[in-house]
Symmetry: C4
Subunit: 200 residues, 4 copies
């Protein structure tokens, strides 16, 4: 199979998953007494929306970069891609838990669930990337052991930060954990996987 249809399907999944985030905002309703205050009090919803939106957006960019290294997909790539998408599609779930519970006792558990989903996705990305780089020739790309070596710090670093955020959430600081997740997303906006030669 060439990469075209696998990318089209993945793009569709990313596009729907990122848009599902708005359903958390749709939970916000205004009372008739203090509607402006109600709008302002929903800041945890907006914050969770922004963090998850940027996170899924960056994952989409990294996904594109991975597939830009190859021209064909085989069955293991499709299966690894499916497992990865299974994590991405789940993101609105811990996002909703965080948005609803950030100020409450359950906020810690919510932020832990957010971190766990991110850790699973990080592992999924690492697995797909290792497979793609080590099977580049079979997949119609160029073997790039160099790309693999150079990308190790980025993957390991991201994973460690998510582990740290999850631990920080577990000890009872969910807002700090969410800020860490957000900072990581902003960091990755500008720092990313090596692109194939000749691509920006």
């Amino acid at each position: 199979m060439d990469t075209r249809r696998a990318e089209a399907f993945s793009d569709g999944v990313f596009a729907v998953a990122i848009t599902v985030l708005v359903f958390n905002l749709l939970e916000i309703s205004l009372g008739q007494q203090h509607p402006y205050r109600d709008l302002a009090h929903a800041w945890a919803q907006y914050f969770a929306y922004v963090v998850s939106f940027l996170t899924i957006g960056i994952m989409w960019m990294n996904h594109h970069t991975i597939f830009a290294h190859i021209t064909r997909v085989d069955r293991p790539v499709l299966v690894l891609n499916l497992l990865l998408l299974m994590g991405v599609v789940a993101i609105p779930f811990p996002t909703a838990l965080v948005a609803e519970n950030l100020h409450q006792p359950a906020g810690a558990a919510a932020a832990v669930s957010y971190g766990l989903v991110m850790i699973l996705i990080s592992i999924g990305f690492t697995g797909l990337w290792i497979y793609v780089v080590t099977h580049a020739e079979k997949l119609g790309g160029q073997a790039q052991p160099e790309a693999l070596r150079r990308s190790i710090p980025g993957f390991t670093g991201g994973l460690l930060v998510y582990v740290a955020g999850t631990v920080i959430a577990a000890v009872g600081l969910p807002v700090a954990a969410l800020i860490i997740y957000g900072v990581l997303a902003v960091y990755y906006l500008f720092e990313h996987l090596p692109a194939p030669a000749g691509e920006a």
Copy 2:
């Protein structure tokens, strides 16, 4: 009509249907007393999510394989494809029933409804595949009676397993039925329709 736009529409439907599965997870909410226990107790939701996600993902792969055999679509292909998608889009419905009722008396009926939807989809796939292979030349592909013959065990086997799962659910073992549906999905991750000559 060439296959491009029919594939694009189908890819979109598969992508949305697979993402709709997260709405079942969005039903989970945390109490403030035992939030970690609430997260753990929702395992039926996660299980149903994983089984249906893998199932729709595999159906998408098989759908691609079927369309890779041809270069044009005619009206019967479009109609058969639409009937097939009507089943795929419905999957989040029995998934939700199973996730909500797995531990309760209604779990058996829920798992039966899951199996019935899968049986309908299996019949839809078989019908589309038979039409495509037997009309391959008209559809710009190569006649492949061999591919049809080789695929019979796979289709029949899948259908029989879904029938068996439905019966097992009906006699009151919905968890066993869901495990069977999940094992079948994992099996099909690696065992699949014959690809056209020259494709992996």
Copy 3:
């Protein structure tokens, strides 16, 4: 603008709109006393789902046929297309009203709203089709006054049937109206707009 991106956007809208129909099914829940009876009693939900699914599917096919006549789009085509999609996206709304109220006094009003949306969409299709055929040369297609003339009975017939269904609903026969909408959908599965020369 060439037709590619307008088609891609429209395909996406059709794909999401057709998948949104499953949210009506997600409203169905099972009691623990008589779950099989609950499944059976939801037949109005299934019926409405099937009718609307086929209807949107056929509209997608007709949409493709219209765009197959041209190779470029101009601003009026985009605006007419947007108005048409505004009707298509609304379909899950009267579908939900019909599914919830078919057996109740409000069923008549629900089936009337369904018919009105269909009438608006029919007018939208007619407008887009007339514009495309009469501006074919500007849009990179071939002028086909013949295609326009041949398509008049189909458009007029469909519109009249929707008007008839709406009237039948208004006098208090919503089930009969829904059957009429369904029969029309099945009829259009096999009877359709003239394709451009050389296309099936």
Copy 4:
């Protein structure tokens, strides 16, 4: 990265966001006493649906026009595009607030939130457009300082009208504000960004 996959992802996001608007309509339910009156009383829902549908549709057209100026995207374009989409995806949220509260005291706050989201999106479009036009050569397009200069009135005008609508909503005239947003959408249906040379 060429523009193809960025456009495909953006098209998907626009398509889902515009379809999510129907979920506001799905909130409407019919009583059994006066179902026709209930349908008629929901006019604020229909009005908000139409305004937001046209608005997102026009944004999609403008998005296409911007990307038609270039053939490659770089990291800043992707980030700016992501920020823009973050606003577009949020549109169903203020739309729901407006639809639910238009006749009530909270209607003013709802229409203010609508205006604020539109102002943010306008700024996002302006930023993306300035970047694209000033980096056209790097992005594989033609430098068009002329296009930038000609587009200033349109961008500034749109932004000012949204500011005016927000102010009018804030002083307690939410219906007037919604009419202004709607008129602006209709105006932009026919008045738009300069297309690249050779495109309509």
